[in-house]
């Protein structure tokens, strides 16, 4: 008998061990200078600057960020749905009897999806210069491809028995598709599209931190001048917006779901997207962002083959790729393992409540700011990059885990408590065990996201593809930029394929879609 049988439960907890070497390195590299600054940072949270100039600037920045996020989100959602339908095998099979066009479109969409919005922003900045369209397009391009993938996955994994039955009755392809598959798309639109709005808000803030307008600029400037009271003013404003958005989306989802009418759900969602697009354009104009201003187009300076060869021979590829993978694995370990570990060690209502606030804070602070905070008292290293990236994603994983557990029946917990188990063991066996396969499946998807996000913290680690890319962009070495982008995209596509395999393993072939749909539906 093979007794070694690591369960999904333990496989979800073990990655937390990544925290040990990471903390070890961060603590070893600690320097005293930053301790006082860290205390100041924490203390300033309770006393954010209320100076009218600071508040006004943050308010202005917040409006730009929110309007940019709304506009980009609405456009990317529309395009994503259209391209999702166009890249679904079931649609082509039903209409023309072949699925290869879907595969071609899907392959084409993999490239914009593989590149993080920050990287798109930095590339577009070189092409379009300082234009409001940079941040908007940087969000629209990858988000469209991400939405398209989820929509097509959802369409292709649906039960096709009703579709076949309608086809055999002699109906035309489009009415068949709309009738058989349309109603099931309602929950997807509500859950996933809503989730992408939260992502767009985070993305718009992040792009601001890198100089592309909005609240992120206020955050970055305040941090650079180490004025923590001024830093907390935009951070609290962002927290307010994020919290309100979470509540509104949660209310919206539960309200729409209670109607049980999928077509009505879809119509309301699409109508809301149109309204928000129509609101966001004049809103952007009101905060002096003129979308109609002409864009100065600088053609991308395509490198020659000789330049590409030199770039290929110059860069230390093995080191760059291995350090990127290392940061990804360490950050993913922290993000995946710490939430269940924390809940297991402190499973009381108070404990989970406190942890929820910590997760919210970690989600709120943009990853580059977390990295800068860590650099206040530790030297640059891969560990700092992994910790910053892991901490932000830990906030996301923690929230999703709690949502999943809240929707689960507590009968297992009750049974174990009645048989004398302690709270920790009862939580581990009675609560978390039931949730662990879905959690692991989502963890695979999150690892894929973390790999893309390494570009955001690359500069902290002083190595990795992300760091090298920003260095090459700064020195206008387009041959290196082109090669690095291709390698990064290839790496993320390999990661995506592996995460798909893991998801299929944990959830079964019928559930290849991201768990966000399971947890937030």
């Amino acid at each position: 008998m093979n007794r070694l049988s690591p369960t999904p439960t333990i496989l979800s907890l073990l990655p937390a061990l990544a925290l040990i070497p990471v903390i070890g390195v961060v603590v070893t590299n600690v320097h005293d200078g930053g301790r006082l600054l860290l205390v100041e940072f924490v203390g300033a949270a309770l006393q954010p600057s209320l100076d009218p100039v600071v508040v006004q600037s943050a308010w202005h920045g917040l409006q730009i960020t929110v309007a940019t996020a709304l506009f980009s989100w609405a456009i990317s959602s529309f395009l994503g749905i259209l391209l999702g339908v166009a890249s679904a095998s079931v649609v082509w099979q039903t209409c023309v009897g072949q699925s290869w066009p879907a595969i071609v479109i899907r392959r084409f969409l993999a490239i914009p999806r593989a590149i993080h919005e920050l990287l798109w922003g930095l590339l577009l900045l070189q092409i379009l210069g300082l234009s409001p369209w940079v941040a908007i397009l940087a969000i629209i391009i990858p988000y469209t491809a991400l939405v398209a993938r989820v929509v097509s996955d959802q369409l292709d994994t649906q039960d096709r028995r009703a579709l076949i039955a309608l086809q055999q009755s002699g109906s035309k392809p489009f009415p068949v598709l709309i009738t058989a598959l349309g109603p099931k798309m309602g929950p997807v639109l509500i859950s996933y599209i809503g989730y992408r709005l939260e992502c767009a808000l985070r993305g718009a803030t992040l792009l601001g931190v890198f100089g592309m307008g909005g609240l992120g600029i206020d955050i970055q400037l305040a941090f650079r001048s180490l004025d923590f009271q001024e830093l907390w003013t935009p951070l609290w404003m962002l927290a307010g917006v994020m919290f309100s958005l979470e509540q509104i989306l949660s209310w919206f989802r539960s309200h729409l779901r209670s109607s049980k009418n999928a077509i009505k759900q879809m119509i309301i969602t699409v109508a809301l997207m149109i309204i928000l697009t129509l609101i966001s354009v004049p809103w952007l104009n009101a905060v002096d962002i003129d979308l109609s201003e002409s864009v100065s187009w600088n053609a991308f300076p395509w490198p020659t083959v000789a330049e590409l060869k030199i770039a290929f021979n110059t860069l230390p590829w093995i080191q760059l790729v291995s350090s990127t993978i290392m940061v990804t694995l360490l950050a993913a370990g922290i993000a995946i393992g710490i939430p269940p570990m924390g809940m297991m060690l402190w499973p009381s209502r108070v404990g989970i409540g406190v942890q929820s606030y910590i997760w919210a804070l970690l989600r709120l602070i943009p990853t580059p700011i977390s990295a800068l905070l860590l650099l206040l008292f530790s030297q640059t290293s891969l560990a700092v990059a992994a910790l910053a990236l892991g901490a932000h994603n830990l906030g996301v994983m923690g929230r999703l885990l709690k949502e999943g557990l809240d929707e689960q029946s507590n009968s297992g917990w009750q049974a174990l408590r009645a048989s004398g188990s302690g709270t920790q063991t009862a939580w581990l066996y009675g609560c978390f065990s039931g949730q662990s396969p879905s959690y692991l499946a989502y963890a695979a998807y999150r690892t894929d996201v973390i790999l893309r996000e390494t570009v955001v913290v690359g500069w902290v680690g002083g190595t990795g593809l992300g760091w090298q890319l920003i260095e090459s962009l700064g020195s206008f070495n387009w041959a290196q930029v082109a090669l690095l982008t291709i390698v990064f995209a290839t790496l993320t596509l390999i990661g995506e394929t592996l995460s798909d395999q893991c998801r299929q393993h944990w959830l079964g072939p019928s559930k290849v879609r991201p768990m966000i749909l399971d947890l937030q539906s």
Binding site: M1, S5, S419, G420, G422, Q424
Partner: protein, 247 residues
């Protein structure tokens, strides 16, 4: 005989009215008690109160003279419950599920280790044999078991707990006639002197009056109140009609 469990003036309110009304009940060591009553009579609520998972709105529940509410968590291990929905952990294998019955007397490290490598495998095998299952199933995933096998694994988990009192909530529900006899025999056999040499008491809810002769005592519940509490040989057609009489 010593009183193991005492319910005094227990009253439980539910969202749709009273679930248990003024229950006074004493269960002594070694008794085999059948709990009868129509659906919604309060059988599951009585079992939930008895194992401490449901706190009554009024009244006292005493385990060996100590209040159930203040009972140390580890002491609860003495009360084993065979739940109607079994409550097995689908993500774990048979051995890990059986070991879940021992969590009350083990620490967190043991619990974590069991998730990597099932521990105390011989004890698990003993429990499997006690419920008539092959030890070959020890590492089988729960999802691959048949209904009858799952029922037996749930019972094996209760045995692993080594309880003094077994509470069984309709364990014969949805079983075919052959399985009903097998499961009942297993429960009764393990309730008297188990192969693990523990003297046990059994309180079992059921809907099969024809099997009552296997028990020492019958408790009849109707609308949350005890309407019959006598030795099993006193249960006749009139008493049954009284217990199952509609309101």
């Amino acid at each position: 005989m010593n009183a193991l469990l005492e319910l005094k003036g227990v009253r439980v309110h539910g969202p749709r009215g009273i679930r248990l009304n003024n229950i006074d009940l004493t269960i002594s060591s070694g008794e085999r008690i059948a709990l009868l009553g129509s659906n919604g009579a309060g059988k599951s609520s009585l079992i939930a109160v008895a194992n401490g998972s449901l706190t009554p709105n009024r009244g006292l529940v005493l385990w060996q003279g100590h209040s159930m509410q203040n009972l140390r968590q580890g002491k609860r291990q003495a009360i084993g419950t065979l739940w109607q929905d079994l409550r097995l952990i689908e993500e774990l294998n048979v051995a890990q599920n059986i070991n879940a019955g021992a969590l009350g007397s083990r620490n967190l490290l043991w619990a974590v280790a069991n998730l990597i490598y099932p521990l105390e495998i011989n004890a698990c095998k003993e429990c499997l044999q006690a419920v008539g299952l092959s030890t070959d199933l020890i590492s089988a995933p729960i999802g691959e078991l048949s209904g009858g096998q799952r029922q037996r694994v749930a019972l094996a988990r209760v045995l692993r707990q080594r309880p003094e009192l077994i509470l069984a909530d309709e364990p014969l529900f949805s079983l075919d006639p052959t399985l009903i006899e097998e499961v009942l025999n297993l429960l009764l056999a393990n309730a008297i002197i188990s192969p693990l040499a523990i003297h046990r008491t059994l309180l079992m809810s059921m809907h099969q009056p024809d099997l009552i002769h296997n028990f020492d005592r019958v408790i009849g519940l109707r609308s949350g109140s005890i309407v019959f509490d006598h030795p099993s040989n006193e249960l006749d057609a009139k008493a049954l009609a009284w217990i199952y009489r509609s309101e």
